[in-house]
């Protein structure tokens, strides 16, 4: 009896502790993907600094978005409108600072785009919570509305589906460096990605709000019953996702010097893919911001890495699909194992 009790109190082995981490699967995936390309394309340039820079930049834009989307998913909701949000926030910024249209200082333009995005995020959340409809449907509708409004608005202003000619404004604005500049040889987006990941991960794991996110996503009713302000938590998450989309929009628009209405399309699903690869559960209540960032890194690595192999880049999406399936199966298995880690 005494021995039995001692055995029970024995601390968990480091291996079992690791099993409890939701991002375990994505770390394994990252190693596999890296080794794959290092072997397949190690001597054709995959291991060069240029290649690293390339995939980091691709991963960064997705990662900023995925960190917020992961938080929203852990909170039990989806936002399929983030892709269109990137598009419309991008044109908004472009039109507002354009010498022929808005003439506004960049800071003001970004602030207006931010307020617009936060308004839409609030509306998304409010609608979902008021109607009780699945956020999947509500934000799917919003995705079409924003995409359509973006095309309509852009054509109305420019007669084209693109707002270009921002080069001079961007070059003159010092604020633009914050989004389109570089530091220590890495583009600003990579630093944004790093910052957003660290901050949101700390919010999730080290603040009471983060605990509420897990609770609201795991079982909104149970969470409400112990006093979690579920409504406020979810609205905040929707607004946060919209803010992340605006940051990505600013980075894209100011780096390229133009805004295309097609910008951001498909990003909503890529962000979900990155989150799921990173261990987020579609049903909410479980996941990791760091995992979602690793998921973004994997997707960026695959997208850029394939260029250095002799595989046709048209096959990129097949690889992504395979990775999502593999990751979900692996994560599912790991989570079941972690639930068997009994005392």
């Amino acid at each position: 009896m005494v021995a039995h009790k001692d055995e029970r109190l024995h601390p968990l082995s480091p291996w079992k502790r690791l099993l409890l981490r939701p991002e375990l699967g994505s770390i394994a995936g990252l190693i596999v993907v890296f080794l794959f390309f290092a072997i397949m394309a190690g001597n054709t340039g995959f291991l060069t600094w240029l290649s690293v820079r390339n995939y980091l930049e691709v991963a960064a834009q997705l990662g900023i978005l995925a960190a917020a989307v992961a938080l929203l998913m852990i909170g039990g909701e989806f936002d399929l409108s983030v892709g269109s949000m990137i598009g419309i926030a991008g044109t908004l910024i472009a039109v507002l600072i354009h010498p022929d249209y808005g003439h506004l200082p960049l800071g003001v333009a970004i602030l207006i785009a931010l307020l617009f995005a936060m308004g839409v995020g609030f509306f998304n959340g409010w609608l979902v919570l008021r109607t009780g409809l699945p956020s999947f449907i509500v934000t799917l509708a919003m995705m079409f509305i924003l995409a359509g409004a973006n095309i309509g608005f852009t054509k109305m202003v420019t007669n084209l589906t693109i707002v270009s000619g921002l080069g001079d404004v961007v070059a003159k604005s010092s604020l633009a460096h914050l989004f389109a500049g570089s530091l220590l040889g890495l583009p600003a987006s990579v630093w944004w990605w790093l910052g957003v990941t660290i901050v949101l991960s700390l919010v999730l794991l080290r603040t009471p709000f983060g605990n509420w996110v897990f609770g609201a996503g795991g079982d909104a009713n149970a969470a409400r019953n112990v006093g979690v302000p579920v409504f406020r938590v979810k609205i905040t998450l929707f607004m946060l996702t919209a803010i992340a989309a605006t940051v990505v929009a600013a980075i894209q628009t100011l780096s390229i010097g133009s805004a295309n209405v097609l910008n951001g399309q498909g990003k909503e699903l890529e962000a979900v893919a990155a989150s799921v690869i990173g261990g987020c559960l579609l049903t909410g209540g479980y996941g990791s911001v760091i995992g979602a960032s690793i998921g973004s890194l994997i997707l960026g690595m695959v997208q850029q890495g394939i260029v250095y192999t002799n595989i046709d880049t048209d096959w990129y999406k097949v690889l992504v699909g395979g990775m999502i399936l593999g990751a979900v199966i692996l994560n599912n298995y790991l989570r079941k194992r972690s639930m068997e880690v009994r005392r």
């Binding site: 968990l12 080290r206 609770g215 006093g227």
Partner: protein, 278 residues
């Protein structure tokens, strides 16, 4: 002595459904008040009114003598009414510690961050107090047994200074040993001076720990009885709604005329089911 909570002529309607009608009830400190009744009798509805999930359609709720209207579970919780719901407010994928402190996280530092270390230490200590030794407070609640989950939920309510502890069928899904453990916490909470409202279908569990018994039937109260004034069998009969038993007896008689052996067997089985603690 003023009761901790009191219901005066409380009714609750859901559209045309009368869930509760004219319920009077008083709960005193240091008392285990059992709420008995068949499925759908209105037990959960009643405690949801006390815990701030529903508002009463008619009547009044008094807390420590003052009329109150709770508009959310949080308000009731802040006053000291803690509820462990039938559908357990526990998130299986979250750690024991995080579940324990959900909605009332300890904070630390100028940024008022979540104090995970303190939370883990307190959770471990509080669970040890009630006899659960956990390897790791970071393990998911989903790895605990049903009885352990109930115990964690009760420990949480007691730790956060509940004056009234409401337990909705905490023993219904448990084996004999686990039920005994939960019943022990019920008595412990009572000894600490809490008023405990204990809902159960199992009259044996109620009889083991209860001081007073209120029996509901189809939304109405048969009244409140002190343990000295009543008997287990009387409660049992009220719970199952005496008339239904009579109907059953008539049916059995009819069957008996055709198949005496089969009827006797059926009768024995029903009698056993009604008597046996499960």
């Amino acid at each position: 002595m003023t009761p901790l909570v009191e219901l005066r002529k409380v009714s609750k309607f859901f559209g045309p459904v009368i869930s509760l009608k004219d319920i009077d009830m008083k709960v005193y400190p240091g008392e285990v008040h059992c709420l008995l009744g068949d499925n759908g009798a209105g037990k959960s509805t009643l405690i949801k009114i006390l815990s701030g999930v529903h508002k009463p359609s008619e009547g009044q709720v008094l807390f420590e003598g003052q009329p109150v209207v709770f508009s959310s579970p949080r308000e009731a919780l802040n006053q000291g009414i803690a509820t462990v719901f039938q559908d357990l407010a526990m998130l299986p994928l979250m750690s024991i510690t995080r579940n324990f402190f959900l909605g009332r996280e300890p904070r630390v530092g100028p940024l008022r961050l979540y104090d995970g270390n303190l939370a883990a230490r307190i959770a471990r200590e509080e669970l040890l107090k009630i006899g659960i030794s956990i390897r790791d407070p970071d393990q998911p609640v989903g790895t605990l047994s049903g009885g352990e989950r109930q115990s964690v939920a009760i420990a949480r309510a007691v730790y956060f200074g509940a004056k009234v502890l409401i337990l909705d069928e905490p023993t219904s899904a448990l084996g004999v040993k686990e039920a005994a453990v939960v019943l022990r916490y019920v008595v412990q909470a009572k000894a600490r001076g809490l008023g405990v409202i204990f809902i159960t279908h199992n009259v044996h569990h109620a009889w083991a720990v209860g001081d007073t018994f209120t029996v509901l039937n189809r939304g109405r109260s048969y009244g409140t009885f002190k343990k000295e004034e009543t008997e287990r069998e009387k409660l049992l009969q009220m719970m199952s709604g005496g008339e239904e038993l009579e109907v059953l007896a008539v049916e059995l008689e009819l069957i008996a005329k055709r198949d005496p052996a089969g009827a006797a067997q059926l009768e024995r089985r029903i009698a056993e089911e009604l008597q046996e603690p499960n």
